[in-house]
């Protein structure tokens, strides 16, 4: 007899009193708790009274006055879908057997009943009920975990003076990506983005465990680098044991990518540690953006010695950061768009309560975290970066590829841009980049031009900034703007075109740095 929560309960349904009596005797002898019902309606009353989850198996006759066994089976499927049901049929009722199995019966028994067949069939059915209920409980637990994870990530916003906005798309029901904030001083806040390898419950648990370890050690004033070292050692030792086969049969064998941003409002600096994640992007309200530190390094757990990539960024009121897990980088690469424009699009969709269809193409969990050192109203007037690229001087021949990339990214992030505005932005950007690569970088591979686009939705304005290391130029754009371009050299035609296409154009560094704005 299968063991479980106690004596298994079996409901036997048959309009034949002799058959009921026989089954009661047989099953009681086998150790089951037996409840009898003389027809389908009586069975439904018993099941309703006892509630879903009470019985472990139903054995029902097919041919009964009132409602037949198949009708009862359908009712059970609707009211207690995990409860296994065995159908008793007269010998040779092949169609009934087929219909019963199709309807969800776990088994069928031919009458007259064979005692051994009944014993085996009942054991299987009760085991099936137990298994299905365990699966159901696990699914409910996973769903609960996901809801808790989403609530923690997206709804619980502890205002530490650094406002956060999180966008989370797990690949499965739960994932190992997580974000947390810790106060480590009166005006010092640590922000931790973690990405545990895997997309399952273990990853979720490990992520939560890591967050807890960090919180505990921070409360004991342990410096973050030391915490990272400790966790790296724990994971690495476990990984070695698992790989070597000499240790526990099932180790953690997981790694944790971490990006930590310590914001010190008093010192106006942010310190960034990167272990196997993207480098965060920092920007100012005017859209001027920088990548802080260097992406990559190794996640915790890979090697015995931890090499965090550390960088320091000056911050000011209105500063903002965006950082993401590698699921975003993978999806951006798949969609052939910039990571910043995808981060923008996902945050925008989250605010609008929409899950974009392209998220289903993601191969990994995606977590995007924005940190704002300004209130929401100030942020509305700020520019947010969509591109922050560097192009080598010898890449002028690849400008078509770059332009297609800009187009896809802009269409994703700002679908409201008209065809005319998109054309003007792309053409002016193309001209600016070509000028920068050909004249500023002299087409040399060692030199590079920076290319950045930012946008402010509230002001409906897009800003393109292109800078090169060259000496600039002495061409007077304003003076030639209205004279036409037929007498000019190509480079100057490009400048005139930029001036004509953009709503405004300003230069710095003698023209080596140009900023264009486009209203939409």
């Amino acid at each position: 007899m299968p063991s479980g929560r106690g004596t298994p309960r079996v409901l036997v349904v048959d309009d034949d009193p002799m058959c009921l009596l026989l089954l009661e005797i047989l099953l009681s002898k086998q150790g089951y708790q037996v409840v009898l019902a003389e027809n389908s309606d009586a069975a439904k009353r018993q099941l309703t009274l006892a509630g879903a989850g009470h019985f472990d198996c139903v054995v029902t006759d097919y041919r009964m006055p009132g409602g037949n066994g198949l009708e009862l089976l359908q009712w059970i499927r609707a009211h207690d879908s995990d409860l296994a049901t065995i159908m008793m049929t007269a010998e040779g009722e092949r169609q009934v057997v087929a219909d019963s199995l199709r309807g969800g019966a776990s088994d069928f028994l031919d009458k007259p009943l064979c005692q051994e067949t009944l014993r085996a069939g009942l054991a299987r059915a009760i085991e099936l009920t137990g298994r299905q209920r365990r699966v159901g409980q696990s699914e409910a637990a996973v769903l609960g975990l996901r809801q808790a994870q989403e609530r923690l990530l997206e709804e619980v916003d502890i205002n530490f003076g650094v406002r956060r906005e999180l966008c989370f798309h797990p690949k499965q029901e739960t994932g190992g990506d997580f974000f947390n904030q810790f106060r480590v001083g009166p005006n010092q806040f640590l922000h931790l983005l973690t990405d545990v390898s895997g997309h399952d419950l273990q990853a979720t648990y490990l992520s939560a465990y890591f967050q807890g370890v960090v919180r505990g050690l921070l409360q004991r004033a342990v410096p973050l680098p030391e915490i990272l070292e400790t966790f790296n050692r724990i994971l690495h030792e476990d990984l070695c044991q698992t790989e070597g086969g000499a240790g526990r049969p099932s180790g953690i064998s997981a790694s944790v990518a971490v990006c930590a941003i310590l914001v010190d409002l008093d010192a106006s600096v942010a310190t960034v540690w990167i272990n196997g994640t993207a480098a965060p992007t920092h920007w100012l309200p005017n859209g001027e953006a920088t990548t802080v530190g260097e992406a990559g390094g190794f996640p915790l757990g890979w090697f015995p010695e931890l090499e965090s990539r550390c960088a320091v960024q000056r911050i000011e009121s209105g500063s903002a950061f965006c950082v993401w897990t590698d699921g975003l980088a993978d999806l951006a690469s798949h969609l052939k768009v910039s990571e910043l424009s995808l981060a923008w699009a996902l945050q925008r969709a989250r605010r609008e309560g929409v899950k974009p269809g392209y998220v289903s193409q993601a191969m990994d969990d995606i977590l995007v975290a924005d940190l704002h050192l300004s209130d929401a109203s100030a942020e509305e007037n700020a520019y947010r970066p969509l591109f922050l690229e560097a192009y080598a001087g010898n890449q002028a021949g690849a400008v078509d590829v770059a332009q297609a990339y800009w187009r896809r990214s802009l269409e994703l992030a700002l679908p409201e841009l008209s065809d005319a505005i998109l054309h003007d932005v792309l053409l002016a950007s193309r001209e600016a980049l070509l000028n920068a690569l050909i004249h500023g970088c002299r087409t040399e591979r060692q030199r590079s031009a920076t290319f950045a686009i930012s946008a402010c939705r509230k002001m409906r304005t897009l800003r393109v900034c292109v800078s090169d290391p060259g000496p600039g130029h002495s061409f007077d754009i304003e003076g030639f703007k209205h004279r036409g371009i037929e007498g000019l050299v190509t480079a100057h035609r490009g400048l005139i075109l930029m001036k004509c296409l953009a709503g405004s154009l300003s230069t710095r560094k003698n023209g080596a740095s140009v900023t264009m704005e486009f209203a939409w």
């Binding site: 400008v399 065809d419 070509l434 035609r493 075109l497």
Partner: protein, 113 residues
Amino acid sequence: MTHFSMKTQISQEHDVLTLRVPGDLISTNAEAYRTEVARRMEGGGVAGQDWKTFVVDLKAAQMVDSVGLNLIVTWIKWVRDRGGKMRVVCSGGNVLRTFKFTRLDKHVELVEG
């Protein structure tokens, strides 16, 4: 985006010589167009035949950049030197605006086709 892998077509009907550009006229293909047109028009081909109007058909173009405009200016001068007229046909929209922005519409007959 169109590259020069799509061949230009040059045809003559009466005294009108037409060059059909199969896509954008931009930095990455303008030089190839320049060479191709020069080869076909000056190296024998149709160059010796009588024509008075040179038509550049840009209906398939979505974008003409400064290098493309440079080529247009070259062709304007080339046509002027031969005492001919030049007409540019575009599908309107962005290419038309580019010609107007840069005032090249003052030097060629610009037609929406």
